[in-house]
């Protein structure tokens, strides 16, 4: 499974408001270039370059016709020292199960949070589900990825163009790790049971 292309930094962008979950319109720091749309989950209507790409699975046999599915866990997410709850990213499977896919996390920017530093880590699991009734999702492997970036604003912080962003790290961390029952746990802040990812709820 490929995780490229990916961006080596984050960018400021002006996004529309989200009614629920309630998110403001205005400047955001986002792991995408040229992003447009709203700040809602799944609210981006486009980007000139996406943050990280999740490629279609390769190198696996699937003679029985099962389904490959992406499942992503947010391992840690710290914004200006405030930790957010780890867990499942949105739902199972990620992005409706479509591969290739991508991810472009964003956070609102304001004068009150200037400068803003976000350290984000996720684990994207490639899962497989047999066509047999009652079968469970089986992990094939995972890729850790994330970023550490800071946005700063001198003045007029209500517009995206007033912000500059620098990243000390962005993209895959290490290489794709094949799943195994003896895998060490926890993985970040998420627990693996016999190599199978578990979570207590949706990350937020």
């Amino acid at each position: 499974m490929s995780f490229s292309p990916y961006l080596s930094t984050l960018y400021p962008a002006s996004l529309g408001a989200c009614a629920n979950p309630s998110l403001p319109a205005g400047p955001y720091m986002i792991y995408a270039q040229g992003a447009v749309g709203t700040a809602c989950p799944g609210g981006l209507t486009g980007a000139t370059a996406v943050g990280i790409t999740f490629g279609a699975p390769t190198g696996y046999q699937n003679a029985t016709g099962g389904t490959f599915l992406p499942v992503q866990l947010i391992s840690s997410d710290v914004v200006n020292g405030s930790s957010h709850t780890a867990g499942l990213d949105t739902n199972i499977p990620y992005a409706g199960g479509k591969l290739p896919s991508n991810d472009n996390p964003s956070v609102p920017l304001s004068a009150a949070s200037n400068p803003l530093t976000r350290t984000f880590n996720a684990n994207m699991f490639l899962m497989w589900q047999s066509n047999q009734a009652g079968s469970i999702l089986v992990p094939l492997g995972y890729q850790t990825w994330g970023f550490n970036a800071t946005a700063t604003c001198g003045s007029n912080c209500g517009t995206a163009g007033s912000w500059t962003v620098s990243a000390s790290q962005a993209g895959p961390i290490g290489s794709f790790t094949a799943s195994s029952p003896s895998q060490p746990s926890p993985l970040g802040n998420n627990v693996l049971v016999d190599g199978i990812p578990t979570w207590n709820g949706v990350a937020h």
Partner: protein, 178 residues
């Protein structure tokens, strides 16, 4: 074109009567370019699961949304609404009252992120007959913590013009148990 839509409507209505697929979207205004079908997903995340469902309050409620282009030309993939996945969510309790947003602690303000189509490519459009599915963890956004019956429906305007026609999904009923 109208004959094409009519045949689609008849086919979908026939299938819906057999309870094989969710009912075709209802549209206020002109003939719809797409349909929205929703189901509460409990078992297989890669398949539609039509019909009403009973969900334990601790499990949470997730809805699979499927948007299908029923025209003979490309249409924009993203919806224009300021809700998750470009949709508006109408969630009501057994008394018909709108379900309030879930309360969040202050400081939990992060954006949505998720996938984005790449501008200037075919990634931004749905081809004729093509579908895209989204999974919405609605109990993360709406307060479904009180056991009872809830109805869920999603909608989208057909364009960013607020006066344009609205496509509505079928309604699903969820019984949330203690």
């Amino acid at each position: 074109m109208r004959a094409f839509y009519a045949s689609l409507l008849i086919s979908a209505a026939s299938l819906a009567a057999l309870n094989q697929v969710p009912a075709l979207a209802q549209t206020e205004g002109s003939t719809p370019p797409f349909t929205l079908a929703i189901s509460v997903n409990l078992h297989n995340p890669s398949q539609d699961e039509p019909g009403d469902k009973t969900v334990d309050v601790r499990s949470g409620v997730s809805v699979r949304i499927r948007k299908t282009n029923i025209t003979d030309q490309e249409i924009p993939k993203p919806g224009p609404e300021n809700g998750p996945f470009g949709c508006l969510f109408d969630i009501r309790d057994g008394g018909g009252n709108p379900t309030p947003p879930r309360k969040r602690s202050s400081g939990s303000l992060v954006g949505g992120g998720g996938p984005a189509p790449i501008l200037g490519t075919k990634d931004t459009v749905l081809q004729p007959g093509e579908s895209i599915s989204y999974f919405a963890p609605v109990s993360e956004w709406y307060d479904l913590s009180k056991p009872g019956i809830y109805t869920i429906q999603v909608s989208q305007h057909v364009s960013s013009d607020p006066n344009s026609a609205v496509v509505k999904s079928n309604k699903v009923t969820v019984t949330v148990t203690p």
